[in-house]
């Protein structure tokens, strides 16, 4: 597989020859990998959703919708994206402000905007709009960026992150921040700034912990350190998910045979905690297969970034790919009990329309970068 990925050239030459795929701006290896992941996701979801076709049908529809979004996004020329990056960014900021003013709450946090026919989270837009905006901006500058540009970039990043953070949705805020920081990092920020930022982060961490974090957020971190402290409360999720994964062993209990998943011990088994279902029913083997596919997707994304025609394309593709890995890592880490529980779905496997469509949009943009015509 990796050989296959490596030999694929984003310009459309190589194994599949010709430029038919390039002409319709689709990257075949990425498309195949995404479709495999989607198929695997539906397979696990059927078991996780209580062997009910309800979730599977809806998820398949979301995926179909996502594929359309992906194909459409792939047609947009990267130069066009760079030029108009400020539009989705600006719109996202306005919508976030709207959420603060007229948003709909759920579980003590205001995250939703109710448009009558659909409810959605504007913060999702920023997950893509933010790195897009930064790549657009830094792509135009001399690199490594000067201090002034860096300060500007940080401002561009901190405004949406802050707005999401006060909803409060610390998880998404951190993801937006991470996606943006990847752009900054790839743009060649000087090492002394990196170390300086790390030191600064360590310095404000206690202040952050004491004054800015909500009780439930602190609780999640504490639960990670000692899940047994509150077995039936905050610790329940983590105890049940590690039990599910651990009891799966090497080759798992078999599809639809996971007792933790099927007997409802596992919470959120069809959404954020679906990796525990996979781990229980298909064992370490299943986990390794899924992780490998993810790594192939990431490899393909990094190759696209490396071969991109412009610095904007490189920064955007690199950031989108690394962010994708962050989703994978945070989700698999929190379910297996090495990270605090934050609401991050497992890409293309967890049930949820917003997540699927946003990811597909990202893949479409990756393909757009990967299939951009050579300028010389």
């Amino acid at each position: 597989m990796s050989e296959f990925v490596r030999r694929m050239r984003p310009d459309g030459s190589g194994l599949y020859g010709g430029s038919r795929w390039q002409r319709i701006h689709l990257d075949l290896p990425l498309l195949l990998l995404v479709l495999i992941t989607c198929g695997l996701g539906l397979f696990v979801l059927y078991s996780a959703g209580g062997q009910d076709s309800h979730y599977v049908t809806r998820q398949a529809i979301f995926m179909g919708l996502g594929l359309v979004v992906m194909v459409v996004a792939a047609q947009v020329p990267p130069r066009f994206m760079q030029r108009w990056a400020v539009l989705p960014y600006g719109a996202g900021i306005l919508l976030l402000i709207a959420v603060v003013l007229v948003g709909v709450g759920a579980k003590g946090a205001q995250r939703w905007l109710d448009l009558g026919f659909i409810r959605f989270q504007p913060s999702e837009i920023l997950k893509i709009a933010c790195p897009l905006m930064l790549a657009s901006f830094l792509g135009r500058q001399h690199l490594p960026p000067s201090f002034k540009h860096l300060a500007l970039a940080l401002a561009v990043l901190l405004v949406p992150a802050g707005l999401v953070g006060i909803q409060p949705d610390l998880g998404t805020a951190l993801l937006i921040l991470t996606a943006g920081l990847f752009v900054v990092f790839l743009a060649g920020i000087r090492k002394r700034y990196i170390f300086g930022a790390i030191l600064a982060a360590l310095a404000i961490a206690p202040f952050f912990w004491l004054f800015l974090m909500h009780d439930y957020q602190r609780q999640r971190v504490l639960t990670l350190l000692d899940p047994q402290a509150d077995k039936l409360g905050a610790g329940w999720n983590i105890i049940q998910s590690t039990t599910a994964i651990g009891s799966g062993g090497l080759d798992g209990k078999g599809w639809m045979q996971g007792t933790q998943s099927q007997l409802d011990f596992l919470p959120e088994s069809h959404t954020d905690f679906i990796i525990a279902v996979l781990g229980e029913e298909f064992g370490l083997l299943g986990v390794v297969v899924l992780l490998s596919i993810y790594l192939l997707i990431i490899s393909r994304g990094l190759i696209i970034a490396l071969n991109a025609q412009s610095m904007f394309g490189r920064l955007l593709a690199g950031s989108l790919t690394l962010t994708f890995f962050v989703y994978v890592f945070v989700n698999m880490g929190m379910v297996s009990g090495i990270l605090p529980v934050v609401g991050v779905p497992l890409p293309l496997v967890s049930y949820g329309g917003t997540s699927v469509v946003t990811l597909m949009l990202g893949f479409g943009m990756l393909m757009a970068v990967g299939t951009e015509k050579k300028r010389f």
Partner: protein
Amino acid sequence: MHDRAFKDPQREFRMFSARLAVAALVVLVMSAGLLWRYYHLQVTRHGDFVTQSENNRVHVRPISPTRGLIKDRNGVLLADNRAGFSLSIVVERSDDLEALLADLDALLGLDDEELERFRRQLSRRKPYEPVPLRINLTEREQAVLAVNEYRLPGVEITAQLVRHYPHAELLSHLLGYVGRINDKELPELDPVRYSGTYVIGKTGIEKSYETELLGQVGYEYVETNARGRVMRMLERIAPAVGQDLTLHLDIRLQRVAYDALGDELGALVALDVRSGGVLAMVSKPGFDSNLFVTGISHRNYQALLDSPDRPLFDRVLQGQYPPGSTVKPSFGFAALETGVMTPETAIWDPGFFRLPNHGHKYRDWKKGGHGGRVDLHQAIVESCDTYFYSAGVKMGIDQLSHYGRLFGFGEPTGIDLPAERPGIMPSREWKSGVKGVPWYPGDTVNTSIGQGFMLTTPLQLAVAASRLASRGEIRPPRLVSRVGDRVLDPGPPAGMIDGDSRHWDAVIAAMKDVVHGPRGTAKIIAKGLDYSIAGKTGTAQVVGIAQGATYDASRLHKRQRDHALFIAFAPVEDPEIAIGLIVENGEHGSSTAAPIARKVFDTYMALKGEEQLAHE
């Protein structure tokens, strides 16, 4: 804007590539970290998690064994188990316990007592264990809950067997009852044997034969989901049913005895002379023991406690009364055995007895006395006090006490029931020990006619009658004749009262004439007898009568009138059944108590005749 004049694409690309390589390396390292974590969970600690997931999934639920039945000698059910429905709550399955309780209150009307008991049990339950709220739902309550069950998450309606006493008031003290295990009993119980059981025998046979009746708990291994709902049964170990008890008692005889006591308060015990088996045992009034099974309400319990008739009081085992003249056959036998009297010895009865050098007159119940020459026979037949004053004083308290004990006075009879009281057979040691004063000769005088300090239970009266009937066989009374298929063989008597057979003859002949003789105190019951009865009447004073005063029943409150007593056995030639009975405030053993015994004897004989007919 630009701090350099021109962009340098080559340099920027090299730098980007280097950064991307660093990122790829980090991705690899972090992926390796993830893999290590999953390997740790799924391989290294696999065993622990398998155990934990099995513990999650598989629950062991105790199955309560069916309590053994209690039957009379002919197999008539006296205590059985009926299907009842009870309401329990599994807290883990309810969203909001307080809201649920409020809903249930609106539907069923919960009282504070129930809630308090529920909360007590709640505090010591295991996770997912259903906690009973109300046992034995009425049909209306079942219907209301069935209709509303969908909106009452956590509520569980379960069928279980509830103890039932078909003849509740007839046998209330004897059978006792089962009730919910309370906080005091809980620490004493084997947690395994009682894991599926909510009730325990509280009194009577239910208590003394608890071990036999309980049975062995069973288990089922079930797979449950996270909300505790049972998905399927994995394995079942059936409980062992408790053992059935068969009694010596005949419910027909019991009913006759109960009815014969009428509206009077009192007690009657009928024993099988040959085995010590209890044929009938009544304490009146009884109560509905079924009330206690599912937890009696405060109101009902208070009503039972407040009743002046004291229905909860078991008169048979705990009522202690002066035996009065019913001790005369026993003390008469003692007088012959000790040699202070012979069957021929006669005394002069002026109507009173006076201790040497004392002015105090101990009166005979009959004003003017029984005449010039009163021997033992006449003294028993006519119940002459003066004769026994004289015999008692000659024997002395030590001999009286010794023989009294031989006939069972002042000692627990050893019956297979809990909470038996021993009565009092006074002695020098007893008086100095309990009262702290020495024994006076006057005490001996009182004791010799069963008054003074002497107290007996109705059961002891029956035991004394049985020992007289069997000419000295000492047998502890027994209620249960069979446990399951195992017959409890009464075996040989535990002891014998040694005595000259002529002395037994003399006493028994006198007791026979109490009923059959023309001057017998119980001659009233001799009419129409086609078998023979030997008996002795007794009257026990409730209030003392001052020296020189006379007892006038019409001027006393009913509850201050004398108790009427009677002991008897039949047939005289080959005794089978012995009875001891007391009618509280019945005044005269002869007119009140003896006819009750006659009815029981008649029934016994009639039933025996039926059985013989059936055998032929």
